[in-house]
């Protein structure tokens, strides 16, 4: 490929797809490079379920209303102010049109009265989930003439004298090559899925972490950009992690390995002694508290102990629980000391925390748990045109970033359900539009 592309999008997740489609619809030539093989294309959007949108009134796909003010307040609350206000406002404002834009680009949405989705006035559900949405967008991108390569790992190499970029491309099938781009939109995701990177920031404990998302968010583009002098935002040592089933895969477990039943039982560590995550309780925020607590355990492993009642109350899990007719049987099945576990259960029952249920009715059940990393609050700095901001505050009119690689600009800490997809789609669309605008001059 010797020609020069107007826009090269690096990363084929939701942000990359939206950038590519927006740029292509603006009439420029677009090449999309996705490092994952086609079965695993789509970044972490593959595992996502819903996206948060502002709407003044009920629509066919979301009931009631969710005002921009509420969205901004929710964001401010979870980030404790660790959010670029200008970008946050842009995100919130453009979320209002993103559902219609995605639908116009082939993404079917699920009506609230169809299926069993929980009531949500804040979020919209793509029909069939994130991967179905990703498939639809790949089809649309192909149809409108975006050149797509999967299994293609890109590394930024240099900017030539005429201002164009050269990108080194390694594919699974052909020898390394290089392509030229007038503008680049980097949508390559964060660094949370690289074991070496995790170890460098979280120490040896990182080897006990699971990564809930795609293994292809390997952070190489992020590292390239930082090495080239890009400014950073957030903190690589802060990540969102939750309790996941220890029997799941190291990567890509997604939603189904998340352990949701912690409020219905008690948690012990490898020594069978009860542990608690301060203030976790039963609120949705308990997820984010338990991840780091389990990460602090020996072997990054803990066990959720439930009785028959607790198990009945719990939502179904991907793996069947490990069970025992007695606490001693259960301890044996888990490889824990039976006497200590019995002691821990008795102590728990004798002084039940507020809202907790006693562990009393056989059969007893347990889930082995590990911490599962969802995402890391760290990335490159961008301005409100999605241009990467260099450490010396310089910016380059031809280099943009969108998606999780720049999410920390808006969400420096905390977690908000449905934010990731909205952020990727809105900022992806914006970056693609800006890149095309630059090409048009």
């Amino acid at each position: 490929m010797s020609s020069t592309w107007d826009v090269v999008v690096i990363g084929g997740g939701l942000a990359g797809l939206c950038a590519a489609i927006a740029a292509r619809r603006a009439g420029v030539s677009v090449r999309l490079l996705e490092c994952a093989p086609s079965a695993f294309r789509g970044g972490n959007a593959r595992h996502a379920r819903n996206f948060r949108v502002v709407h003044e009134a009920p629509t066919r796909y979301v009931p009631d209303a969710y005002q921009a003010r509420e969205f901004l307040d929710d964001l401010a609350r979870v980030t404790q102010g660790d959010s670029n206000p200008c970008l946050a406002q842009r995100l919130v404002a453009e979320s209002e049109t993103i559902a219609a834009w995605l639908m116009a680009n082939g993404v079917p949405l699920q009506q609230p009265n169809v299926g069993v989705v929980p009531y949500s006035r804040r979020t919209v559900f793509p029909l069939g989930g994130g991967k179905a949405m990703i498939n639809a967008l790949y089809s649309t991108a192909t149809d409108i003439g975006v050149a797509i390569s999967t299994d293609s790992e890109a590394r930024l190499s240099r900017q030539s004298s005429n201002g164009n970029w050269s990108i080194d491309l390694t594919t699974a099938t052909s020898s390394p090559s290089s392509i030229d781009a007038r503008t680049i939109v980097v949508c390559a995701g964060g660094a949370g899925a690289d074991p070496a990177w995790l170890r460098s920031h979280y120490g040896d404990a990182a080897d006990g972490f699971m990564v809930r998302g795609t293994p292809y968010a390997n952070g190489r583009m992020l590292a390239d950009l930082i090495a080239a002098g890009a400014g950073t935002v957030g903190d690589p040592t802060i990540c969102h992690m939750v309790a996941v089933d220890a029997r799941g895969p190291r990567f890509d477990g997604g939603i189904v390995t998340r352990i949701t039943a912690i409020p219905y039982g008690m948690v012990v560590d490898g020594s069978a002694r009860r542990i608690d995550a301060t203030g976790a309780g039963a609120e949705p925020t308990h997820y984010a508290r338990w991840g780091p607590r389990i990460a602090a355990c020996a072997g990054q492993t803990a066990y959720l102990i439930l009785d028959a009642d607790g198990l009945q109350r719990a939502a179904p899990q991907a793996f069947p629980p490990i069970s025992g007719a007695t606490i001693a049987d259960l301890a044996e099945a888990l490889g824990l000391d039976p006497a200590t576990l019995a002691q821990s259960v008795n102590a728990f029952n004798a002084a039940l925390p507020a809202g907790a249920h006693p562990i009393a009715s056989a059969t007893f059940a347990a889930y082995p748990m590990r911490p599962g990393v969802t995402f890391v609050h760290h990335g490159v700095a961008v301005d409100d045109h999605m241009r990467i901001v260099w450490a010396d505050d310089r910016r380059n009119d031809t280099l943009f970033a969108a998606g999780m690689i720049m999410a920390a600009n808006v969400i420096g800490r905390g977690y908000l359900a449905g934010l990731g997809l909205t952020l990727a789609a809105v900022f992806g669309r914006l970056a693609g539009t800006e890149a095309a605008r630059h090409v048009h001059g």
Binding site: R46, P118, A132
Partner: protein, 379 residues
């Protein structure tokens, strides 16, 4: 028979493993009724698996939407797994049970039996009719019955049809007994209309709106459309037979009937329409991505479609060549195919229709019983 609820065979174990992942995920809940039916379920009895597998319309939407499809280590392949369970559910409920084996290798069994019956019919006609009657061009009234006397023709057709209806009826009843929902009679009655609507419209071949993944990643409404076309054509030929019976018994006119008569027109239009539907469905089977399919179910589909196509084609051939000396043998061949078709019907794809209807009735009944369910917030 393995209707016991404790079966631990490999297929059951795999179906349970996959459905457990599906209940924990539920991203597909808008695609079809299988997912709402497993919402919040912690375990799956064999009767549930049989029910769910027949509720599945094999639209394959969940395969393309699945974040856990292979090469993911979870290797979730719900359509193929349910197709295998579904095929086993046909076999497990068929009476006499020995016939259930035919679902294991549908092509051989069906081809052998139908060929045998066609050959027997041809042999009977060749041996019983004088060559002059058989090979003389004759399309005057009653010509068909000079090839095969009415009593034998109607007797063989009636007996084979009765056999098919009795076997399939019994199998459906046995199936319903193992998986009938535990709901009040009122809910079952209220469910009749919505269930009938789902059955007739093939609503669940709509993938929740955008259509099914008929052949690959892109959705279409082709399979649903071709199925409707085929069934409409079939209805036309059935009406043709009914109208012919009225001509014969009420009006006292024996076949063959003139081209402009109701039986011939209905048969001609119905036959051509049915062939178009069959061709469309075969085209989809031919092009379809095989990974989310159960190979034996595909063989079952294709065998049935080809057999139905042969019955239709041979009927149209009789019409086209009824004024020529070929009529006698063509008619004998057509009748042999019709008899054979009815005989193999109980262990053919035909069983999917009443089984799926029963599953849709249970789904509608459970929905009616649940009424306005409160949706649990998952946070």
């Amino acid at each position: 028979m393995s209707t016991a609820d404790t079966s631990t065979d490999e297929l059951t174990a795999e179906a349970e493993r996959v459905l457990r992942i599906c209940t924990a995920c539920m991203y597909c809940d808008g695609l079809c009724p299988v997912f709402p039916a497993i919402d919040d379920k912690h375990e799956f009895r064999l009767s549930d698996l049989n029910y769910l597998s027949n509720l599945c319309h094999n639209c394959r939407g969940c395969w393309y939407a699945c974040q856990y499809a292979p090469p993911h280590p979870f290797a979730v392949n719900l359509p193929a797994t349910l197709a295998a369970v579904r095929r086993r559910s046909y076999a497990d409920h068929l009476w006499p049970p020995v016939l259930g084996r035919a679902f294991g290798s549908p092509v051989t069994g069906i081809a052998a039996i139908v060929s045998l019956i066609v050959l027997a019919t041809l042999a009977f006609v060749l041996l019983s009719s004088p060559p002059a009657a058989l090979f003389g061009a004759d399309d005057s009234e009653g010509a068909f019955y000079r090839v095969l006397p009415w009593s034998i023709m109607a007797g063989a057709a009636g007996a084979s049809l009765l056999w098919a209806v009795a076997c399939i009826g019994l199998a459906t009843l046995r199936f319903w007994r193992t998986m009938a929902p535990d709901v009040p009679r009122g809910a079952l009655l209220r469910a009749l209309a919505p269930a009938l609507r789902d059955i007739v419209t093939l609503r669940h071949l709509g993938g929740g709106g955008p259509g099914c993944n008929d052949v690959g990643e892109r959705t279409s409404h082709h399979r649903r459309l071709f199925h409707h076309v085929m069934v409409a054509g079939f209805a036309g030929t059935a009406l043709s037979t009914v109208s012919a019976a009225i001509y014969h018994h009420a009006l006292g006119v024996a076949a063959p009937y003139p081209l402009a008569s109701l039986p011939v027109l209905l048969g001609l239009v119905g036959g051509v329409v049915m062939l178009a539907g069959i061709a469309g469905l075969l085209w989809i089977e031919h092009r379809a991505d095989t990974e989310p399919s159960d190979r034996t179910e595909v063989a079952l589909n294709v065998t049935f479609l080809i057999l139905l196509g042969l019955v239709t084609l041979s009927g149209l051939a009789v019409l086209a060549f009824r004024e020529t000396p070929a009529m006698g043998l063509l008619l004998a061949g057509h009748l042999g195919l019709v008899f054979g078709f009815f005989v193999v019907l109980p262990f053919s794809k035909a069983v999917h229709a009443p089984f799926r209807a029963a599953a849709l009735l249970r789904a509608a009944a459970e929905k009616a019983a649940a009424g306005a369910r409160s949706k649990r917030d998952r946070g």
